[in-house]
Structure formats: C-alpha cells, structure tokens
C-alpha cells in the first residue's frame, strides 16, 4: 500500500486505438495513446489500482498507479568501443602515428 501524499507516477490511456487520428502508420494506429504523469497520491492505494494524483501545477489527474518515487535510471549505456577507434582515426590523422603511445 502506498500512502496518501506519496510522490508517484501514473499511466493513463488518452485515446483507445479506435479513437486515434486518421493517417497514422498501422503500427501506431493499433496501439492506444498513453500518458505518464507524476504527482502526489490523493488517497492510499496499491500499484496497479485506479487513483487520483495532484500534479506539481495543482491539477488533478487520474490513472493507474505505476510506482512510488519514480527514479531517473537513464545512463550512458553499455560502452561502445568503436568510439575509441574514432579517437585513433582523428588523432593519427592530425598528430601522426604515435598519438596512442
């Protein structure tokens, strides 16, 4: 159970596939338009239940409770070694063959 006033993220369907705009690619038209938004939970609730939140601008939004304290988990990703090869190409061209020594 997540407590009232906790900082949470919800998900909501804005448009069902049947309500979507015309002239969309097929793969987009067959899925709903979804929204994610964060705010303070207005009543205690479990993840997965329908809830209302108060957002930072004071708006009330409703949707399915996704999580408490949503985190920023984006990173620099798995290392891409080709980047080192780029370094070698440009340094060798500019400074000569011994730039890696």
């Amino acid at each position: 159970m997540i407590q009232k006033n906790a900082w949470v993220q919800i998900q909501k369907t804005i448009l069902e596939p049947s309500q979507r705009a015309t002239h969309l690619p097929e793969e987009t038209k067959k899925v709903p338009l979804l929204m994610w938004v964060k705010g303070h939970l207005m009543e205690p609730a479990d993840v997965g239940s329908s809830v209302k939140i108060k957002t930072l601008t004071g708006r009330i939004e409703s949707g399915i409770l996704v999580c408490e304290n949503p985190s920023y988990m984006h990173t620099y990703g798995a290392f891409v070694p080709e980047i080192l090869q780029i370094d070698q190409i440009v340094k060798t061209k500019l400074f000569g063959g011994d730039s890696d020594e």
Binding site: Q11, I14, L15, Q19, R20, A21, L24, P25, E27, T28, V31, P32, L33, L34, M35, W36, V37, K38, G39, T55, L56, T57, G58, R59, Y72, H74, T75, Y76, G77, A78, F79, V80, E82, I83, Q85, I86, D87, I89, V90, K91, K93, L94
Partner: protein, 473 residues
Amino acid sequence: MNNSYQAVMARKNEIMKNSVGIDYTKYEYGTLAFDYEAMMNDCGNSLQQVREIQNHFGVGNTPLKECKNLTALARSVAKPGFGARIFIKDEALNDSGSFKARRASMACYQAKRLGFKGVIAATSGNYGAAVASQAAKHGLKCIIVQECYDSFGIGQPEIIEKARACEAYGAEVVQLSVGPELFYKFLLLLEETGYFNASLYTPYGIMGIESLGAELVEDCLKQTGQYPTAVVCTNAGGGNLTGTARGILKTTDHKIQIIGASVNLKGLHMASDIDFNKKSFTTGHTGFGLPFMINPDRSDVPRSAGRPLRYIDRYVTMNQGEVFFITEALAVLEGIERGPAGNTSLAAAFSLAQEMKEDDIIIVQETEYTSAGKHHQAQLAFARENGIDIHFGDPLDEIPGKTIVFPETVDLIHTQELDLDIIRKKYIQNQLTKSKSLTQDDLDFLVIETNTDIEFVLNELKQYDIHLEVEHE
C-alpha cells in the same frame, strides 16, 4: 464540455487565440497570404530590447570559439589553400544548456507581462528545459508535454534526460507515447489551465534567436576582424535558422551565406511506434526539417514565425554516423564535450569548410549540453540495444533505422545537398491546397516565402489548374 478528440481539435483556433494572445486572422489577406512582418512587428520587441531582456535574465552572450584542431583536420583532407576556419558559438553555456534559452526567455517574458500564471510547451527537446528554466526565473508555473515512450513504455534516453532536466527546474512533465495526437492533450491542458502557450513558433520564440545572429557577427568581427563567410544552422522546425538569419540581417548588410543542416533520417516515419526508438536523433533531422520547410504552418500555432525558406541559401544533410564521429572529434581534439544533435551543423561545417578558402570563416551557430541519455555514447548504446548495426565504412551506405556508419577515414565526411528548388516547388504545391484562386498579393507572398522571383512562381503555377485574378505579361 465535450472533450473528445474531434471536439477538442475543432476548438483549436479558439484555444490558441486565448493561449498566445495573438489574433492570427488579423494578418491574413489575399486568399492564402499573410503579413509575416506585421505579425513580427506587432508582437515585437526590437532587437535591442530583446538583448536587454535576455541580459537581465542571464541568457546569451555565449563565447564564440575557434576549433583550431578541427580546422587543421579538415585542411588535412582539403585541396591546398582550402579549409575555412571553423568556429562554434558555444550556446551550451546558456542556463539550461542550449540556445533554446533565447527562445524561452522571450516567451516567458511575454507570458509574465500578459499576466498568465503559467506556461505550457509541447516539446521533447531542449526547449522544454529552457522553458522550465526561464519559467523558474519568472515564478511561472510550467508544464512540458513530451512524446517520450513507445507503446511498450520504452523511452528514448535523450527525451528521458530532458524530462529530468525539466523536473530539475521545477516543471511538471506530461509524457506521452508516440503519435501526433500529443497536440490533443496539449490543447486540453491549455484549456484546463489557462496557461500561456510558449510555442517555439510564435514571434516571441523567433525574435529571441535574433540576438544569436547579431552576437555571432559582432563576436566574429571582434575576434578576427572579418565577417563570417557562412553560418550553419542545425535545422528542424526552422525557427533556429529563421531567427539567426533575421538577427544577422538586422546587424549587417554584408552577405553571409545561411546554410541549414539536418541529420538524414530518410525512410523513418515520425509517427511510427516502431521507428520511434530506431532513430538516434530526436531533433535536427530531416523528419522535421523537410515537412516544416514545405509547410511551416503545420506547427502548434496557426501561423509559424519560423519560415526558413525565406532565408536559407543552401540545405545539406549529414548521416547519423558522421555527426557522432564529429561529436567525438570535438571532445578529443578540442576538449569540448557537447550533445550530438547540435553538432549536426558542426559535422556539416567540417565538410563545407573544405569547399572554402583558408581565410574564410564558417560559424556553427550552436552547441548543446550533453549528459546521460543525451550523450553520443548513450545514443549509440541504445541504438545497438535496438538492433542497429554500428560499423565503420562509407557513411553514404548508412540506412537510417538499420545501420549507423562511422566514416572509416576523415575524407569520407561529406554533406549531401538537398535541392532547394524542389523544396520551394513543394512549398507552392502545399499552399495551393488552401486556394486554387490567387490574387496579386498571393503571388507576391509566394515570391517572398520561397525567396525566388515572379518567373519562378508563375512557371510553377503553370502546372496546376489555377485561377489568377491578375493579368501577367
């Protein structure tokens, strides 16, 4: 109130009018013409006022830096005597990390002046952070609406980072899955909150960039004693190029070539739930650049103040692999780590410099911040996770959405030319969908909009069944 998709879209003009404080119908004349300069003047602050306002709110006056090692690298593969000096305007040093602070500063200033309690912007790019940052200074509430995830909830790392930045500046971020109906939610939010529409495409969003054009001419004269030969602008919605060119024109009569550069994303559909996470650039690409040049009024306001065809002299594309390559070169040769999208014009300048003499100057008019998610390392890792084949070879072989090809050797970095006359003709063709009956005013408008002459326009009109309400000899 009926909030169905159709009902909300039907009230969009009314919502827009209330949310930007501009009655666009006032500027319409002829059957398709509109008075662009009158719109800019009516909403306007002079260039001097823009600079004063921006100075007050900590925007602009970024350094112009010469990239001597990149210039030397370009010269190493250029013909003898060729290889212009490459400069970058380091716009990443603005609060919020990009030139978008200039656009946001004027939008937020106007919102505050008109008494709005908050601002809303529909943007997945740096502009969101810029609006959030400027709104914070003005004590305005702020909502940023992003297209962020595919339908599986997989977010583009660059857009997730921008959401973080917006939230860091105190904004509420509304994130949506892929689709142009983002505009529907955007309209609903404008109506619900009564906030100001801090669109990228109002006159405020454009006049804020004029200071950038003015600064780069002044900086260049001060540092080198000469005018830039060419200025390269990364082009998406066209506002960057438009505002920069207008600022240059307001500062000097000296002819400076305006070159637009976009990442080539040919073949990827911008509204595709599948293609969404197959591209490594979320802006500055042809998926925005071309449609907005052909129809600038497809933006989130009835008449866009970004009208690049009026100002552009040349339009080139770069492949994703080339832009990543130059982004890395900027870091290891110049010691400047910046975001990849803003470096699209740097990659173009690296190639264009080789067509120019050594005593010429080419200015790349922006850089952007980089970070987790945005960094080229992060974008390449994400591409690899999404099955994109990353390898060295000839960038011309790159297939957007399938491969990213780094140039095997430096001499393989080349701009690809887009034919502006074809784009101009498509622009005219698009205008004709609005009216098949044209007045003299409309003809004059088409000439100005396409930066051509009456012969060009009439010659193109011959191909269509058009009623001209004027006689032409």
